[in-house]
């Protein structure tokens, strides 16, 4: 027990929370933008897998990180675009389409990986590059705070900036207002000349962009290579975090950090030789409990709303 506590109350642990939370922050923000546009999208897992693989392939062949990031973004956003086309243009069911794309992500990335590297498990055979960690001058010398905040991967800082970006986008720009109005009452938006499909498409592409950054981080920062099914449900945890945050930016960010802490905790406990299968469950149990709490709250809210409406 002491070992656990001393591990938790250390700067290292908090550092690792940020490290582990990075992909969750990205994908939960992506889910948030999309949800505000009123689209039910569960295809983030697939988007992230493709972007993670794209990043590895791009950086390995060009030996250039920027090319890696670009290819990752292109592949992830391609999945978002396919989703948008099916759901918004062909009017197919969003959940089924999302499910199909996630399965495509799981199988398709392994297939591509095998074609390119001859390996079905991971991309270690490819000499892919990493995105560097950076130390922040001055701050890095402050005790404790420096240890926590400085020395992260570039994308971790990008994730933190994305929080601010998404907040401004949704709440402070005309586009954000349109996304929200389309999400809430498409007929209302339409009646003042807002193009509903176009606006939802834009929201999905922004979401695809942000989620792809999360995928890229997984294979160019969190790990130095791609492994099959490496998202391990992060796409869904992002949706859960967004739900817990009720579609508001900062609460969603906090929820992502919470899930990240659970994962960091489970990492520590595994290293302390607690049964790892059990410990791996921790973040998912956390997610479930979180959703239960919000669900209960929502039910109450819904009946209250009804009462008010009449």
């Amino acid at each position: 027990m002491d070992a656990i506590f001393s591990s938790i109350f250390s700067a290292e642990f908090v550092f690792s929370v940020l490290r582990v939370s990075t992909p969750l922050i990205f994908v939960s923000l992506a889910a948030l933008v999309v949800r505000n546009g009123g689209v039910m999208c569960i295809a983030f897992e697939g988007m992230m897998l493709f972007s993670a693989l794209g990043a590895v392939i791009g950086s390995a062949f060009a030996q250039n990180q920027i090319v890696g990031v670009l290819l990752g973004l292109i592949m992830g956003m391609a999945i978002a675009a396919i989703f948008a086309y099916f759901v918004l243009v062909l009017n197919s069911n969003g959940v089924l389409t999302g499910l199909a794309l996630n399965i495509l992500g799981s199988g398709g990335t392994v297939f591509m990986l095998y074609l390119i590297s001859g390996d079905k498990g991971s991309s270690t055979a490819l000499k892919s590059l990493m995105i560097p960690n950076i130390n922040i001058p001055i701050i890095k010398n402050i005790p404790i705070l420096g240890e926590i905040i400085s020395g992260h991967n570039v994308l971790t800082y990008v994730a933190l900036l994305t929080v601010v970006f998404v907040y401004l986008l949704i709440n402070k720009t005309p586009l954000g207002l349109r996304i929200r109005s389309v999400g809430e009452n498409p007929h209302a938006a339409e009646s003042v000349g807002i193009k509903v499909v176009k606006t939802k498409f834009i929201a999905l592409m922004i979401g695809g962009f942000i989620a792809s950054l999360g995928g890229i981080y997984m294979s160019m920062g969190y790990l130095p290579f791609f492994t099959r099914d490496m998202m391990a449900g992060r796409g869904f945890m992002g949706i859960a975090a967004q739900n817990l945050g009720q579609g508001l930016t900062f609460p969603t960010f906090i929820a992502a950090l919470l899930f990240g802490s659970a994962e960091a905790l489970s990492n520590i406990m595994q290293s302390l030789r607690l049964p790892s299968e059990l410990m791996q469950m921790v973040p998912y149990i956390f997610t479930l409990v979180g959703l239960m709490l919000v669900g209960g709250d929502k039910n109450k809210k819904a009946s209250k709303k009804e009462a008010k409406n009449e």
Binding site: P174, L177, R180, E184, E190
Partner: protein
């Protein structure tokens, strides 16, 4: 010739609109509107009024016909074009995003910007400016979902005024308003007319048409059947034009023959999650063969009372007895089997399934019963017979029994609900706003039906925001204000709307003893 043309700001000529399913909703319709008038567009449910206005606002494209606006032919391909020309529409159902503020809703689509960001302060300023200019006060920072209906409507009107329109289309704006809100709206509309705006006004309430409008166009079955100046017609004349026959606007009924007590409600109290009492300490009884009315401004607990009795809302304190049996813990199916019928005021949420067919909606309360099943399967023949019979008896205008409910007009949807609920051999009917949004002919039909069910021994609780209706149809009357019963009249014969109005608005109160008159064993 030219002069005659100039007189009309807008004329729609030979408009024909055929929907995707082949239904012709408008046939060679002509509508001519003069500048600065309030022009009524009236007609039965499903006559094609909303369709014609959607064509004008660019939401539907006509198969034939042209629109001449300010002397020039215009092609209105979408709402944005209509707004650019200065034609704005307030829809039958609100077009607002509830969780956004008034100011945000106001500027949607024409957001003011400052360095690329949305300039909320400017949106607030613009809102206050139009609100002052037209003397329609509103709080720009309030969330739309927190506003009462009357104010939501005001936002809708301000929204199109902000866009600088000259012609306002109002599709049944008063259907959801209380009498007070309606009066207020009319003051505003008359003011707008004085300022030179042109208004097209759709309503089923003849009194409103009579008091507000200058000219009218009547549609029936998609065709124009009358154009007239309102001053030349009486309400009776207008209703004849609409329905094609004489409609009795008064109701004839025998005095009630009451028997056993059916429903007893005792000390019912219901609080919302903010702990505000929406229903407080309400007690009353209804007997067989009696219609008890509840009058009151909407939102004073009527919705909750009907939801509690019909099991849609969970009871908190008090008792509800049906034939001396406490029923509040029973499932809705059990209640229905015991003879409780319910016409909900929200027909799209609780009354019907929008994507299901007319037939499926007609049998949704009884499909599981033995008589509609054969060898473990639904008995298609019996069900078809019943649906066809009900469609005929209740004059539901629809393609066939297999038409989806959502393709019916509002009034016809209501008739489907009434047909199902009235044909279930009800012992107790909870009728909440049964004639809302329904044309005069169909309203008369539903009211008569309620009275004939009463004569056959059903007990009826009639909740209505329409004072004339609730006073004339009911045998005895409760008046509610802020969740409490403030008055009880055991006889409605000599009751006037003025008297009831005073209690409704909380100006007068009866004593507890007088109110207690509506409780018997």
């Amino acid at each position: 010739m030219n002069n005659v043309k100039d007189e009309y700001i807008l004329s729609m000529e030979n408009i024909t609109k055929i929907y995707g399913n082949g239904f012709m909703a408008n046939k060679n319709v002509n509508l001519r509107v003069k500048k600065g008038e309030i022009h009524a567009l009236i007609g039965e449910n499903g006559a094609g009024k909303s369709t014609l206005m959607k064509v004008l606002f660019g939401q539907e494209q006509p198969e034939e016909g042209k629109i001449i606006y300010k002397g020039k032919e215009v092609k209105i391909t979408n709402p944005l074009v209509a707004l650019d020309h200065g034609i704005g529409m307030v829809h039958q159902h609100f077009m607002l995003a509830p969780s956004l503020t008034v100011a945000e809703n106001m500027v949607l689509g024409i957001e003011p910007k400052n360095k690329g960001f949305f300039d909320y302060a400017e949106a607030v300023r613009l809102t206050s400016e139009v609100s002052k200019k037209y003397n329609l006060p509103i709080d720009p920072n309030a969330k739309v979902k927190d506003l009462p209906v009357g104010y939501k409507q005001r936002v809708e009107i301000l929204k199109i005024l902000l866009r600088g329109v000259d012609v306002l289309i109002l599709d049944e704006p008063t259907a959801v308003l209380t009498p007070q809100e309606t009066d207020e709206l009319f003051v505003q509309l008359r003011e707008l007319r004085k300022q030179g705006y042109t208004i097209i006004f759709i309503s089923h309430k003849l009194k409103e048409v009579k008091s507000l409008c200058d000219n009218l166009t009547v549609l029936r079955n998609g065709r124009v059947t009358g154009i007239a100046s309102v001053a030349d017609l009486s309400e009776q004349d207008i209703s004849r034009l609409m329905v094609g026959r004489d409609v009795s606007l008064t109701i004839e009924k025998d005095s009630p023959k009451t028997k056993k007590t059916v429903l007893k409600v005792r000390n019912l109290t219901y609080k919302n999650s903010d702990n505000k009492a929406l229903v407080s300490n309400v007690s009353f009884s209804i007997r067989e063969g009696e219609i008890l009315g509840i009058a009151g401004v909407e939102g004073n607990g009527q919705r909750e009372i009907s939801a509690l009795i019909t099991g849609l809302e969970e009871k908190q304190s008090g008792d509800i007895y049906l034939f001396d049996e406490e029923i509040s813990s029973q499932s809705i199916r059990k209640l229905r089997e015991k003879g409780v019928s319910h016409i909900s005021e929200d027909r799209m949420t609780f009354g019907t399934v929008a994507d299901a067919s007319v037939e499926e909606n007609l049998i949704s309360d009884r499909f599981y019963k033995k008589e509609f099943n054969k060898n473990g399967l639904l008995d298609a023949k019996k069900i078809a017979d019943l649906s066809n019979k009900l469609i005929k008896e209740y004059l539901v205008k629809c393609d066939s029994k297999n038409a989806e409910i959502k393709t019916l007009s509002g009034g016809n949807i209501q008739k489907v609900v009434a047909a199902r609920e009235f044909s279930a051999n009800p012992k107790l009917i909870i009728a909440n706003q049964p004639t809302r949004g329904i044309d005069v002919g169909a309203s008369e039909f539903i009211r008569k039906k309620l009275i004939s069910l009463r004569d056959k021994g059903s007990a009826v609780l009639l909740i209505s925001a329409d004072l004339t209706e609730v006073i004339t149809v009911s045998d005895s009357l409760l008046v509610m204000n802020e969740g409490k019963i403030v008055a009880y009249f055991d006889d409605t014969n000599d009751l006037t709307e003025e008297t009831v109005g005073e209690y409704m608005l909380g100006i007068k109160h009866q004593t507890a003893e007088e109110i207690g008159g509506c409780c018997y064993e």
